[in-house]
Amino acid sequence: MRRRGFLMRSVGGLAGSTFLPAMQAQRAGAPRRIIIDTDPGTDDALAIFLALKSPELKVEALTPVAGNVPLDLTLPNALRLLEIAGRTDIPVAAGADKPLLRRLVTASYAHGENGLGGVVFPDPKIKPVSESAPELIRRVVRSAPSTINLIALGPLTNLALAFRADPELPKLIPNLTLMGGSLSGGNVSPSAEFNIYVDPEAASIVFRSGVPITMVGLDVTRKAMVGEKEIQALEAGTNPISRAAGQIVRAGMTRMRKSNSAALGPAMHDSLAVATFIDPTIVTLQDYYVEVETAGEFTAGETVGYRRAPIRKSPPMENAPAAAPGDVFRPNAKVATDVNVDRFLRMLIGRLTS
């Protein structure tokens, strides 16, 4: 135990240094290995397709979690998406069916009752593996320390469970790219983005875990909308992925137009996270120290990003001791603050239709 702990710490000690990018570069050309934690979810579907269609990536597993819709839908949806893509070799491990402490809030208003915009695909024939999502994440990460990356597209419950069950795990993961959070206002509440809002405690655990995070939040994803042109391109595609993606996005467009005829089109939140992982130059990344609000009555799930020291919290109540603001700036995330939408859409539509 001691010996193992020591070895892990040695690796962990390097995680924050320049060693890891160098290690990745050393295997330049070889696809980067990823696990996708996801709650499909209409935009999750396109993001998963994008990852499967990207030669730079090797998808090791999908780990569905309750989020956009309950787990008993996100799990079969993940299996369905792999069948559509003809990638039934990729294992799917069921994750948490509820947030750590809170009641599950879903977003079926945006993703349809079935989570895929109401588009009906056949029931999946393949089955999930018997391992749980946190167990699979732990096993795969430990089987190849410092090589397995995570892309998280839903609430962070599975990752929080894995990180608390195995505290050394965050040090063994070179990068976690997550769709979630916002430094410029939320979508489900004025301050919170949905994925963080659903399980703020899990998000807090992940942001404090020390894993190197790339945060792709609403600041950029709300700009990453597909319009009529892109949807038609997908619908005209000749491969099953493109056509399934076209159906799902078309359903999203129809749903949006019903409530707002001037709507431009659905935002491809999750796909932008995958695209950022593939090519970070699509976005502008800035170092932030991000904390997740877990105590707020109106603001739970808000991601609070500090650009520099001092790290000031709410002022203490009268009669309470004065806490000095933190004067050291220790960034824990690279936050996407701007995006080249054209390049993103070219990548997304180009790859899905190819």
Binding site: M1, R9, D97, L100, L101, E135, T157, L161, A165, I205
Partner: protein, 378 residues
């Protein structure tokens, strides 16, 4: 005459024990502990369970609480080496509570007052970082812990024997909460939960409880994990409260009787236990699970933990049927009083008996060397 009677009684007792061994299948238990050591409540409760011929311990999972996890794992491995039970897996679990942090707790104390006992977070000369293992007084182990994590081990172990495994908890509930979140059926598939934790209205002037009767370390250390665990649908929950714990004591007399036995367990206790200094917190939870007649009074209450981050964060909450809110709360059998002489009897009998399945114990069975006199060089 008296001698014959005694030996006949002993023989009868042996026969009865052998009979009950055959008649009753062993009771499975998985032990989750914040296993500080040597001796002390955590190690001694593990020992009671390991010493019983009626109990099959399936593993010991370890969680930060009284001390940091890695040091606790070492104490546990060393204990197993000393008594010859290295076949029992020791599985490292959570190092930190789910949500509570040491830093936020320090701020909390500035607002709401001093926490008397902080476990791994105590500021002592011997305090150290989460992953450091200092030299242990009883010697450091040579055997290794399991490579699985505690939460998954718990899930796997309970699933291997559906409805047969009792989950014994002697520390903060982080590992249990993780297991419950990993496997929504974990609680239902167990035989039940037995834990030391919670405080109702203890009659004591101990400064830890005198002004703060609803504060208890195990539930307090990881309130969110306690909440997840107490809300789960266990077939039954038995709780050893502070109320009953403060009525127990490891007396000098008990230790004297134990120290006479030339067994590895008795000699381990003779060296490291500190009679007259501590309540038998976790030991009673273990002993009363094996012999429920030790408990002379209990209360059936709904139990939860306050997650309000204000003054009551981590305090024990209880309700009766009359006042409970319309929430999915679980009924707990909270122990309130104990037959201490009977408990002492069980304690001495188990701690002086042979260790079932022991193999090559390392503990010397001679009495410890006499304390060096002050004028002698050590």
């Amino acid at each position: 005459m008296k001698r014959i009677l005694t030996s006949t009684a002993a023989l009868l007792g042996l026969l009865l024990a052998a009979y009950s061994l055959q008649a009753q299948p062993k009771r499975y238990v998985v032990i989750d502990q914040d296993a500080a050591g040597p001796a002390g409540t955590d190690m001694m409760s593990i020992l009671l369970l390991l010493q019983s011929p009626d109990v099959e311990p399936l593993g010991i999972t370890v969680v930060t609480g009284d001390a940091w996890r890695d040091e606790e794992v070492s104490h546990t491995l060393r204990l197993l080496e000393l008594i010859g039970r290295t076949d029992i897996p020791v599985v490292p679990g959570a190092v930190f509570p789910l949500v509570r942090t040491q830093q936020s707790t320090e701020l909390w104390q500035q607002m709401f007052g001093k926490i008397v006992y902080m476990g791994a977070w105590s500021k002592r000369p011997t305090s150290h970082g989460p992953y450091e293992v200092p030299p242990l007084r009883e010697g450091n182990p040579t055997i290794k812990a399991a490579t699985e994590d505690a939460a998954h081990f718990l899930v796997r172990t309970v699933r291997a024997h559906p409805h047969e495994v009792t989950v014994y908890e002697g520390g903060p509930m982080t590992n249990l909460a993780l297991a419950l979140s990993l496997d929504p059926q974990f609680a239902e598939l167990s035989k039940g939960l037995v834990f030391m934790g919670g405080s109702l209205n203890p009659q004591t002037d101990n400064p830890e409880f005198a002004t703060n009767p609803r504060h208890e370390f195990n539930l307090w250390f990881d309130p969110e994990a306690s909440h997840i665990t107490l809300r789960a649908h266990w077939p039954s929950v038995v709780c050893t409260t502070v109320d009953v714990s403060v009525k127990t004591q490891l007396s000098e007399q008990m230790m004297k009787e134990i120290a006479r036995a030339q067994t590895p367990v008795a000699q381990y206790l003779a060296r490291y236990a500190r009679p007259g200094r501590s309540y038998l917190w976790d030991e009673l939870a273990a002993a009363a699970w094996m012999n429920p007649s030790l408990i002379t009074s209990d209360r059936k209450v709904y139990m939860d933990v306050s997650l309000d981050h204000g003054a009551g964060y981590g305090d024990t909450l209880i309700w009766s049927d009359r006042v409970k809110p319309a929430l999915d709360l679980q009924l707990v059998s909270a122990q309130m009083d104990v037959n201490m002489p009977k408990f002492a009897e069980d304690f001495i009998r188990l701690m002086t008996g042979p260790t079932p399945k022991a193999h090559n114990p390392l503990m010397l069975t001679q009495p410890p060397p006499p304390e060096p006199k002050p004028n002698q060089n050590p």
